[in-house]
Each structure stands twice: as structure tokens, then as C-alpha cells.
């Protein structure tokens, strides 16, 4: 029995080891057989992120039909890992570099390094480098969703609900009392969504009052725990819940459901997310999540690949060649967020 156990474990280990071996071997072969093939080095902030994975999938789908090889690296939400990744890719002499940058302060340095190697550098879905830095090198670009839009969409939806439903002011203090579920401190998207959503509500002439800002690291379970506590403390004060992403919004909804909300029309509380994930859209259809917005990863991924392709062909990146709006100075590409509510859930398909 014992021998059998050791044997099976040894086999399991051997299997996993050969599995790893195979993967690296085929990768080597791929590299060796493609000496004259162009390679795009791509640095992503976190392979574990739903959105990033979807974007990477879209890039590889686009790359399947093209002739540029992708070499992707995971920064694991760590600036120094990101720096190492960038340096490694540059040492490998990649022909293009894309950075899903989590270190805005490092942008000038990255641009300078790319300039030194004379390769295009594209900042993807992150805070933009300053115009001065971008203009310092004619092959530096920035492509991103307009992060503030996702905040504005939340703000507009909340304002609309507030104006149409007198009962929305649950404690009758004349102010929109809200909870803000924050994704990650210092993260650009998180910051924009947190600020712009409320800014828009105020612009719409509604007074606001922050009940509590809770840092939930984009996590559903964390949001569920914290919102449960806030409900227990201030149940009758909560008018609206803003969440920086759908996962946290859905965590909040679980907590609300557990304490008796969403049972009927009178126990409805508007909860707003961002991302329009599949579970998020299901919740919108079900009538719990009020709205979300979509930054389409397929559009982002395929556009990034298209940019690389255009550059490899020596073409200029313009609104005409790319099929997306390119800024006048030619180095910004802004992708629009799409508002998703019960009326247009089909727009969330990609």
C-alpha cells in the first residue's frame, strides 16, 4: 500500500515535471524556428486579472492570423517585477514593446530605453505618460479606455435613478448617501472611477454624503464582508453603492440579499459596477445590479495587435488606418466605454 502510494505520487510528480519540460521545449523550438520573425514583447500587470486575460486572449487570437510572435510577461502587480520584465524583453531584442504600466513614474525611462533600441513602445490601458514624454519619441504611443468615462456612466445612472425615484433618499436627508467600494489604492482605473462617479452626481446638482469608502482589492468576498458590516451599522442610511468593478458590486449585492434587500420593489438599492462581466450582466438581467460599463477587451487586444502590425509594415497610425479614433498629435488612442443596463445587455457580448 505504502509503495503504491509513493509510486503514484512519484508518477504524478514525474508527469507534472515532464509537462513543464514539454512546454519550455516547444517554446525554445518556436524561438529557434522563427529567427527572422518579428517579436512583440508584452508586459501585463497581472495574468490573474479577468480583464487582462481577456485582452491577452484577444491579442493571441489576432496574432494567430498575423506574422508577429507575442512574448508576454506577467508583472504580478509588482513594479520591480515589471521593470525586470521590461529589461529582459529589451535584452531579448524584441521588435515592439507594449507596457500595461503600473509605474507611471517610470514611463519616461521606458520611453528612453525604447528610443535607444529604436523600437516602438505602446502603453496599454494605463495612465498616460505626459505629452512631453510621448512627444519625445515618434514611436511612443498610448492606447487606453477613457477611464473617467466608466465613472461618469456610474454617476449618470445614479443621478437618473435618484431623480426618477423620490423614495431613493431612504433616510430623507436630501443627500445621496453612498458607499464606495475601492479596487486598489493608487490604481489609475480605481482612482478615476472613485472620483468621477461622484463628481458627476454633484455636477448633476445632487448633494452627496459618503457613508464609507471600503478598500476591497477588487475582490468579491472582501466586498461582501465589508458591506455586511456597513449594513449592520447603518442599514437605513444607504442610498447607493458604487463599486470600482462588477465583482465587488456583486459581493455587495450578496450582502444586501443576505440582510433582506432585493426581496421586493421597496427593498431595492441601486448598485453600480464596471466591466460588464458575464456574471455582472446576469445580475443586470436579474434586476439586482443596476448598471455597469464595458471596456471591451477584445477591441483593446485586437487594436493593440493592429497597431503593431501597422508599425511593422511601416505605416502610420491614423484614424483611417487603425479604424479607431487617434488623437491629433497621433500618439493617443482612446477607446470608449459602453454603458450597460437592463435595456442593452446584448451590447455586452464580445
Amino acid at each position: 500500500m505504502k509503495k503504491l502510494l509513493s509510486l503514484s505520487l512519484a508518477l504524478l510528480l514525474a508527469f507534472t515535471m515532464t509537462a513543464c519540460g514539454d512546454a519550455s521545449a516547444s517554446e525554445e523550438a518556436g524561438k529557434a524556428g522563427a529567427e527572422e520573425q518579428l517579436v512583440a514583447g508584452m508586459v501585463w500587470y497581472n495574468f490573474g486579472d479577468t480583464f487582462i486575460t481577456a485582452t491577452r486572449n484577444a491579442v493571441s487570437d489576432a496574432a494567430e492570423g498575423g506574422n508577429i510572435k507575442i512574448d508576454a510577461a506577467d508583472s504580478q502587480v509588482d513594479i520591480s517585477t515589471q521593470t525586470n520584465n521590461i529589461n529582459n524583453l529589451l535584452t531579448k531584442d524584441v521588435d515592439f514593446l507594449t507596457i500595461n504600466n503600473i509605474n507611471p513614474a517610470g514611463a519616461p525611462e521606458y520611453i528612453a530605453k525604447a528610443k535607444e533600441k529604436d523600437i516602438p513602445v505602446i502603453f496599454v490601458n494605463c495612465d498616460s505618460p505626459s505629452d512631453e514624454d510621448l512627444n519625445s519619441y515618434d514611436k511612443a504611443f498610448h492606447i487606453s479606455s477613457a477611464a473617467e468615462q466608466s465613472g461618469y456612466i456610474q454617476g449618470d445612472l445614479a443621478s437618473q435613478y435618484w431623480n426618477e425615484n423620490p423614495a431613493a433618499d431612504r433616510n430623507g436627508n436630501g443627500k445621496m448617501d453612498y458607499i464606495m467600494l475601492v479596487g486598489m489604492q493608487g490604481n489609475y482605473d480605481s482612482k478615476m472611477r472613485t472620483e468621477k462617479s461622484v463628481e458627476r452626481v454633484i455636477e448633476n446638482g445632487i448633494e452627496v454624503n459618503l457613508i464609507q469608502e471600503a478598500l476591497c482589492n477588487w475582490q468579491r468576498a472582501e466586498a461582501q464582508n465589508q458591506v455586511a458590516s456597513i449594513i449592520a451599522a447603518r442599514r437605513d442610511d444607504i442610498d447607493v453603492i458604487f463599486a470600482n468593478n462588477d465583482d465587488m458590486a456583486l459581493g455587495a449585492i450578496e450582502a444586501l440579499k443576505a440582510s433582506g434587500f432585493f426581496a421586493d420593489e421597496d427593498s431595492y438599492i441601486p448598485v453600480l459596477g464596471v466591466d460588464a462581466t458575464k456574471v455582472g450582466v446576469e445580475a443586470i438581467k436579474e434586476g439586482t445590479l443596476m448598471g455597469s460599463s464595458l471596456n471591451n477587451p477584445v477591441i483593446l487586444g485586437s487594436t493593440v495587435y493592429k497597431m503593431i502590425e501597422l508599425l511593422s509594415e511601416g505605416k502610420e497610425i491614423t484614424t483611417e488606418t487603425l479604424g479607431r479614433t487617434v488623437s491629433e498629435d497621433g500618439n493617443h488612442i482612446w477607446l470608449d466605454y459602453v454603458q450597460i443596463t437592463a435595456e442593452n445587455t446584448e451590447d455586452a457580448e464580445y
Partner: protein, 337 residues
């Protein structure tokens, strides 16, 4: 006269040192309740127990390892893997974005059992690497944690799911996580069951005594005829099973799962165990201590959110509590000797 007050003082000090953990927790509750009296309510108690339930199960797994003088960094990722595996198998056939296309409604025992078996296999792998291949536990489990996370990400990214958060579970499965009987959440009952099971195993069986013996002094245990390999295999397997169970319940409780579930739970579990009186050097640890250790952390995060303290301060307080609790604990043994 003088002597007796001296004894009394010593007794008080000893009492405080022995029960420092409980004193800290009661003080915390008192402060929070003073600021917001509503804190002393059944709803709050229920919420805290519910939020602690999965954490307790993870911490119990971690406790086995710590008692046997091991280390395990794979717990969090194991929770995540079990959450995704069980979630993918617990979906209702009517859900529009299924992980497996055209599947039937599986009895919910299937996702639970499959995940637990996966946890068992990975736990055995940990045990084998540590006990047979002599890789330091810290490194071995760091390795497996990456390995599991990678596997989980690959699985989670399978088409047609493509890394979308899972949802659309069968009612019976969400009920497992969110339902209750006579006001007591199922998951709290399950956590309680695990505590009783582990308590009996550690205190009333030979195996339990052998685990303490191995952790206390491995050489001595070896000479007294204890099979170290068997014990190591057992503790890591047991931990794997408990982590997996916690992962299943986490998926059920939140009604979703992603490959990021469980991230960081291993460190929380180690912290709870240490605060609850487990020794880093092995041989010491009790179920009730670990229970209070987990509870303290959940009282802090729930309570501080309850009175509106910012998330950043919560970490400051948690950090202080960890250090303070261990500082008191160290003194406990010092004064005794």
C-alpha cells in the same frame, strides 16, 4: 501578609498572560460597542461567525502543519483552486454562460467531493515533497502554491469561460453557503463540525499525540518509533482537504469564483494560528486558540468597518495585534519556566 499580596499579584499577571488573547478580544469588542452600541447584536454575531467560518477551516489546516513544525504557503491558492473547480461543477444547467456546455445538473456532492479529492492529492504532493524529497517546507509549498495557481488559471481560462468570473450556481449550492438552520448559517455549522473533528483527532487519538510529538522534537519522536513520513504525509493531506473544503464554501458563500479567490488567505491563517497560540517552532497549538485567533481578526475587520474606520487603519491595527499577541504569548512560557 506581604507574601500573599505578592502571590496575588503574580496570580493576576499570570492570569492576564494565560488569557491575554481573550482579554484583547473582549477589550476590542468593548471599545467598538462603546462607540457603536448596535455592535452587540445577534445580526453582528451571525455576520462575524459567517465570515469567520471559511477562515477557521483554512486555519485548522494550517494548524496541523504548524503543530508538526512544518510550514505551508499553498493554502490560499488551494482555496482558490477548490473554489473554481467546485464552482465549475456546481452550475445550473439553465445558466446561460456555463463552464461546461450542455451539462446536466450534478448533485452538489459531486463538486464538493471532486474539490476535496483535488485538495487531498495536492496535500499529499506537498507532504511527499517535504517528507520524502527533503525540500524545506517553506520552499516546497511556495512552489506548489505557484503550481496550483498556474493550473487554476489554465483551468479558469478554458474556453468558453475565458477567465470570466463563475456564476449561476444551482440553488442547493448557494444555499450551502448562504442558508441557515434555526438562524445558524450552514457554513458555521460545518466549521464547527471541523473544529470538533480536529479537536478529537488531536486530543483523543494516538495519531494526534504523535503529531504533537513530531512537532515538539522530531529526533525524539523518531527514536520512540513514530513514523515521521506517515505523520508528515498525514498533516499535509489533512490540510489539503480542509483548504479545499474552505474553497468550496467560499464559492458557495459568495455565489461566484475566480482564480484570484483565496489570495493571501495562507498568511491570514498563519497569523491567526500564531495569535491563537500555535508555536512557529512546532509542537504547540489548540483548536480553541486558533478559533479565537481567527475570530479576533474578523472582529477587527468587521468591527472597524462597522464604526467607519478606514481600511488602511484596519491593517495598522491588525499588525499591532499580531505582534502584541505573540509578545504576550512568549512571556507566558517564560514566566512559567
Amino acid at each position: 501578609m506581604v507574601q500573599s499580596t505578592g502571590v496575588k499579584k503574580k496570580f493576576n499577571k499570570q492570569f492576564f498572560l494565560n488569557n491575554g488573547l481573550y482579554v484583547v478580544m473582549l477589550a476590542l469588542i468593548a471599545v467598538i460597542a462603546f462607540i457603536s452600541p448596535k455592535f452587540l447584536s445577534l445580526v453582528v454575531l451571525r455576520d462575524i461567525l459567517m465570515q469567520s467560518s471559511t477562515r477557521i477551516i483554512v486555519a485548522l489546516g494550517c494548524m496541523f502543519i504548524l503543530i508538526a513544525a512544518g510550514a505551508d504557503l499553498s493554502g490560499g491558492r488551494m482555496v482558490g483552486f477548490a473554489a473554481v473547480v467546485s464552482g465549475s461543477l456546481a452550475q445550473a444547467s439553465t445558466y446561460s454562460n456555463p463552464f461546461f456546455v450542455n451539462h446536466a445538473d450534478l448533485p452538489i456532492l459531486v463538486p464538493v467531493l471532486v474539490s476535496v479529492v483535488v485538495g487531498l492529492i495536492i496535500g499529499m504532493m506537498n507532504g511527499y515533497i517535504v517528507a520524502k524529497l527533503d525540500v524545506p517546507a517553506f520552499i516546497a509549498t511556495l512552489g506548489t502554491s505557484m503550481f496550483i495557481y498556474g493550473l487554476n488559471s489554465l483551468y479558469f481560462n478554458l474556453p468558453p469561460n475565458n477567465s470570466q468570473p463563475l456564476g449561476g450556481y444551482q440553488k442547493a449550492f448557494t444555499e450551502l453557503g448562504a442558508g441557515s438552520i434555526a438562524g445558524i448559517p450552514f457554513i458555521t455549522l460545518i466549521a464547527l463540525g471541523c473544529m470538533v473533528f480536529v479537536f478529537i483527532l488531536l486530543n483523543k487519538t494516538c495519531l494526534g499525540k504523535e503529531i504533537y510529538a513530531v512537532g515538539g522534537n522530531e529526533e525524539a519522536a523518531k527514536f520512540s518509533g513514530i513514523n515521521i513520513f506517515k505523520i508528515q504525509m498525514f498533516v499535509y493531506s489533512m490540510a489539503g482537504v480542509l483548504y479545499a473544503l474552505a474553497g468550496v464554501l467560499e464559492a458557495a458563500r459568495t455565489g461566484s469564483a475566480t482564480s484570484n479567490y483565496g489570495a493571501g488567505y495562507e498568511l491570514d491563517a498563519i497569523a491567526s494560528c500564531i495569535v491563537g497560540g500555535c508555536s512557529i517552532t512546532g509542537g504547540v497549538g489548540t483548536v480553541q486558540g486558533v478559533f479565537v485567533g481567527v475570530l479576533i481578526f474578523n472582529v477587527i475587520s468587521y468591527g472597524l468597518t462597522f464604526i467607519g474606520v478606514s481600511s488602511y487603519w484596519q491593517n495598522v491595527v491588525k499588525g499591532i495585534i499580531i505582534v502584541a499577541a505573540v509578545a504576550i504569548d512568549v512571556r507566558k512560557y517564560r514566566t512559567k519556566s
